[in-house]
């Protein structure tokens, strides 16, 4: 999270990267909360618990992947257009949430 913000301030990128960094920070915290909540309530039904946890983990991970791809400092992703990266991100999130909804039961 700090890396993205430092690069955005240093290279004066557009606001998109900033929003994404905030969003990934947002996506990471619910995981801990949810785990604590579930530990209190108990893990029945297990599939709902799993789908909740994995939804948070999944969103966080995919957001991180997006940030990696959009970040201009990464040499390996120079020729990957940001629009394509964002489209991939949207697609993956869509699939993730569809599966989560099916799994919730």
């Amino acid at each position: 999270m700090a890396r993205s913000s430092s690069s955005s301030s240093s290279t004066a990128k557009d606001a998109q990267a900033l929003i994404q960094s905030l969003r990934s920070a947002y996506a990471a915290t619910p995981t801990n909360l949810k785990v604590v909540y579930m530990a209190i309530v108990g893990s029945f039904p297990f599939n709902s618990f799993l789908s909740g946890v994995l939804s948070c983990v999944g969103t966080a991970v995919i957001a991180v992947c997006l940030r990696i791809q959009v970040n201009k400092e990464n040499k390996e992703f120079k020729d990957l257009a940001p629009e394509r990266a964002f489209a991939d991100f949207v697609l993956c999130n869509l699939v993730l949430h569809l599966v989560i909804m099916n799994f919730l039961g």
Binding site: N47, L50, L54, G58, I62, Q69, E76, D88, L91, V99
Partner: protein
């Protein structure tokens, strides 16, 4: 006046014709790139068709029917799916097998194959081709084999180059190791699963190479398809983390790897848990823990990379690194230990543990040890299934090591691990086949490329030599090259001819193997008659249709578990045990009944409500896979649960005999009686005494078999299947 127009008109068509020829000629003179594309597309098309038609031997020789045992269950469930719809299928409880327990079919099968066949069936119906579901089932495996060749081509192109891809596709189209489980009629999970396996691997390697989220999403979907198709997905979920670990250890960590693995793991795991049979195993079973461990390790690596980027100071980073790594490893080990100790994470199941420790099954789980496909592989099987690929494999390994990249490391790992497992269990040669084909294709492609470039350079150099200057050094160099070149060229041509000869022999061998060994339906037997004509034994189907037409609809049939699927699918009757083998005690009960004396067996049969007993007997035809030859396994499995059955009771000096010198318990047990009832009156071979058992080559010991509680209901025309009716208890007064 008349002639001139005639002449000019005669001239005009000719000139038009020559113009037309010139035009077409110019069109046909394509550029090299288009020529190459044309050759590639034609070759791939031919390979696609070849992979399909080489699997059709049994359809041409016998008829279009389902082979073996397991495919009958798949066929029955597919039939149910197409008739009743997906919701009924997914929630199906079957009361026609495992009487009186029943089986939750919806939750204990891998639906990928059935859903695929049903989709193809519905598509064809929608396009108004009126096909029967059986035809679709029979031809599903060859169709997917053709698709596998396409995926192999793409995979080879990803790893090495398009030439290697083409060779790999050609090799895998006819490789016997794959054909054995994907002939037309072999409607089994592996036919579809190998396609899914290769697709998952290809998409994952592509994701690691490009680092894009879309490809990892694709590989997650392919992994989902694989999980829905076959239990062998455990191989994928352990190979990919192993590959990631190897990359991490060799210092090839990169952002692309991080993206590819994370996306694939999370999405793949979520999708896989939608299959009820797999359930929550991805977070609870010991076999899946490697993937989770590597996932956390990747997060640690990412974290360390980020800290390194922030700190920028080597020394501080080193100390930070040490602390973090020790912390992470200790936390991980602690979690794993707590999980396993408390029993939350289940240990490796017997099926897969026996892969790591091959002697485990023989001592502890006789049912797994009794399946012939689970035996260790002999060298002859390797040669039979792979032919020249066996020595091209090490050559390909050498080429892969020379050009190490993320993709070649993957194929190296896949090849080595799958070869190890293929050595442990015969059935797993199937999993090793794609890896062996790919690696051998690399060897073939690289070698042929070198050889042809040697032939080509010779024709180039004299031109360049003459074009360049005439300095003495150049001249002497040219002379030296001219001298060694004839040998090089001849040697290269000789080697090329040798390579083509080897590949031609490979093709001949593969076709011969497919025709002779892997195209038999196992339910219809064929033999050569006395005058060389072909004799067909269709006894199995005769018996099952007799059952279907001559027994009450709620009759229960007891037989050994091998035939359960076929009886329910073709005979449409309830069975006691079948090939699913999920309940060992139930099977042991049947085994105990078969190996006891008739009165005790009658008690067991009464407790199970058995109406008919079915045995398979090969004494008249010489068929060697009958129940008497399998009898010792019945004893072992029964004895594993009921200690009253002891294996030494049935042996004489450790030897298994059915003739006069056999053990008395053997001569009077139920299986013996049912197999040899009335056999003592039969002459099976000219010049041999009555009651000569052709499968064992001996004269049987107890020729005068009397049955007290059963009566013979039906024996097929060649005595292969014998059905007995259980008499109701006699009146008390």
């Amino acid at each position: 006046m008349g002639g001139k127009p005639g002449l000019s008109s005669a001239m005009a068509p000719v000139s038009l014709k020559t113009d037309y020829f010139n035009l077409s000629f110019r069109n046909f003179k394509l550029k090299t790139k288009q020529q190459e594309l044309l050759i590639r597309v034609t070759a791939l098309g031919l390979i696609y068709v070849l992979a399909f038609i080489t699997r059709l031997f049994s359809v041409l020789r016998y008829e279009s029917m389902i082979h073996e045992f397991d495919p009958y269950f798949n066929y029955r469930t597919t039939l149910y799916l197409t008739e009743k719809g997906f919701y009924e299928f997914w929630n199906w409880f079957d009361s026609e097998s495992w009487y009186p327990l029943g089986r939750i079919i919806g939750g204990t099968l891998y639906p990928g194959l059935m859903v695929t066949a049903a989709l193809i069936y519905w598509t064809l119906r929608f396009l108004s081709f009126a096909v029967h579901i059986r035809e679709v089932c029979v031809l599903t495996a060859p169709f997917f084999a053709s698709n596998t060749t396409l995926v192999t081509y793409l995979f080879g192109k990803e790893i090495w180059d398009s030439g290697a891809g083409l060779v790999a596709a050609a090799l895998i189209a006819i490789c016997p190791g794959y054909i054995s489980r994907s002939v037309a009629g072999s409607y089994d999970n592996e036919g579809v699963a190998i396609f899914a396996l290769l697709l998952t691997f290809y998409l994952f390697v592509k994701a690691v190479n490009t680092g894009s989220l879309a490809w990892s999403l694709g590989s997650a979907f392919a992994y989902f398809y694989m999980v829905s198709a076959w239990g062998g997905y455990i191989f994928i979920i352990n190979l990919i983390p192993l590959y990631v670990l190897v990359l991490l250890v060799t210092g090839r960590y990169s952002m692309r790897l991080y993206i590819a693995y994370n996306c694939m793991y999370i999405l793949g795991m979520l999708l896989a848990m939608q299959i009820r049979f797999v359930g929550f195993q991805h977070v609870q079973s010991g076999e899946h823990m490697a993937a989770m461990g590597v996932f956390f390790l990747m997060q640690v690596f990412y974290f360390l990379d980020w800290v390194k980027h922030l700190l920028g100071d080597a020394k501080k980073f080193q100390s930070f690194l040490k602390i973090t790594v020790t912390c992470a490893v200790s936390v991980g080990a602690l979690a794993l230990g707590v999980g396993m100790a408390s029993g939350y994470i289940s240990p490796w199941t017997g099926r897969f543990y026996s892969l790591l420790d091959p002697t485990y099954a023989k001592d502890h789980i006789p049912i797994i040890a009794s399946v012939s496909e689970h035996q260790p592989t002999a060298w002859s099987s390797f040669m039979f299934d792979f032919h020249i690929l066996l020595f091209l494999f090490p050559a390909g390994l050498y080429f892969c090591f020379k050009r190490l990249s993320d993709a070649t490391i993957f194929i190296l790992l896949y090849g080595l691990t799958s070869m190890y497992f293929a050595g442990v269990m015969v059935r797993l040669i199937l999993v090793a086949t794609p890896a062996v084909c790919l690696i051998s294709a690399i060897a073939v492609s690289a070698t042929i490329k070198n050889l042809t470039s040697l032939i080509r350079t010779k024709s180039k150099i004299p031109h360049t030599g003459s074009a360049k200057g005439t300095s003495s050094a150049k001249a002497s160099a040219k002379a030296y090259q001219d001298q060694s070149l004839p040998f090089q060229r001849n040697g290269a041509i000789a080697l090329l001819v040798g390579a083509f000869y080897l590949l031609a022999r490979y093709a001949i061998h593969c076709t011969w193997v497919t025709s002779e060994a892997y195209s038999s339906p196992s339910i219809v037997l064929a033999a050569r008659g006395a005058y060389g004509g072909r004799v067909i034994f269709d006894d199995y189907r005769e018996a099952y249709f007799w059952l279907r037409q001559n027994t009450p609809p709620d009759a229960k049939i007891m037989s050994w578990w091998d035939y359960g699927y076929q009886i329910t699918a073709m005979g449409n009757r309830t069975v006691i045990v079948d090939n699913n083998t999920w309940n060992n005690t139930h099977i042991a009960t049947v085994g105990r009944a078969m190996s006891s004396y008739e009165p005790e067996a009658y008690e067991i049969m009464q407790s199970l409500d058995v109406d008919y007993v079915l045995v398979v007997f090969g004494g008249v035809t010489g068929y060697s896979s009958d129940d008497i030859n399998k009898f010792l396994w019945m004893v072992r499995i029964g004895g594993g649960v009921f200690p009253i059955i002891k294996e030494p009771d049935y042996l004489v000096n450790g030897e298994y005999r059915v003739d006069k010198g056999a053990a008395p318990k053997m001569l009077n047990c139920l299986m013996y009686k049912l197999s040899y009832y009335r056999f003592g009156e039969l002459t099976t071979e000219y010049g041999k005494p009555l009651g000569w058992d052709r499968a064992r080559g001996v004269e049987i010991g107890n020729k005068d078999v009397k049955l007290e509680y059963l009566e013979e209901a039906f024996t097929t025309s060649n005595w292969i299947v014998r059905i007995y009716k259980v008499k109701p208890p006699s009146n008390r007064w």
